[in-house]
């Protein structure tokens, strides 16, 4: 059996950006970052396998290489962005009171931006030859 899909949305409804007021941007960026994650995680996983070990010396020397630091930075941006969009949808589905939904979304944004800032700062610090013990 094949499914038949019809859309009842009017172009006015789409251009008016609907109830979320942002049209398909959220949905589309979820797919764009998914594609980014697919490529960058494939690179990251193969790199983890190819690294001789995960000692401090191996990891910092590897991260400091420009052709490693740049894709790692892109991986952080793509994965944290994807994470924010994904968890937001889960919150919208499961948190049913408006106040709690607002608070939970705020907490999510703080968590994502905070953790991403830690990751980006640490990466750049290693790449630009910050303190090493």
């Amino acid at each position: 059996m094949t499914s038949k899909f019809t859309s009842a949305s009017t172009i006015k409804g789409v251009r008016g950006l609907g109830a979320a007021r942002s049209g398909v941007h959220h949905w589309w960026m979820q797919r764009v970052t998914a594609a980014g994650n697919l490529l960058l995680m494939a690179w990251f996983i193969i790199s983890l396998i190819l690294l001789p070990d995960l000692s401090f010396e191996s990891v910092t020397a590897w991260v400091a290489r420009p052709l490693v630091a740049i894709p790692l930075l892109l991986l952080i941006l793509s994965s944290f962005w994807h994470a924010r969009l994904g968890v937001q949808v889960v919150l919208e589905d499961y948190v049913h009171t408006e106040g709690m939904k607002l608070l939970a979304t705020l907490a999510l944004n703080f968590f994502i931006l905070g953790t991403a800032a830690v990751a980006i700062f640490s990466l750049l610090s290693i790449a630009f030859g910050g303190p090493r013990a």
Binding site: P52, V63, A83, T115
Partner: protein
Amino acid sequence: MAHTRPLSPHLTIWKWRITMAISIMHRATGMALVFAGLLLFALWLLAAAAGKEAYEMFAGLAASPIGWLIWVGISWSFFQHLLSGIRHLLMDSGWGYELGVARASAIWVFVGAVLLTAAFWAAFCFGSGLV
């Protein structure tokens, strides 16, 4: 008004089917990847940036039995989410809505995730000279 109309998703009234299980698993693994995977990824980079002593403390905890359990859990979550995400992208393009195909692709995602997790750890341990 807030609770007089049905709100999604009705986890409690769904009949268990592999197609709904894979959907729930996509969300569950996604949450695990954010709150365990990305958090530990950031802490790993922070430890490396903080210096050898901090990094070795992180590495010591990471190599503990609980650490291994967490890494295996995160890696399986990743491959499960990856394959089910690819299934989502294919379905976005209109593929795979027929009942038989939707069931078969869901089964293949579950099987494939376990196989990829095993393959990753085999390659990782072999490549790192742990085996």
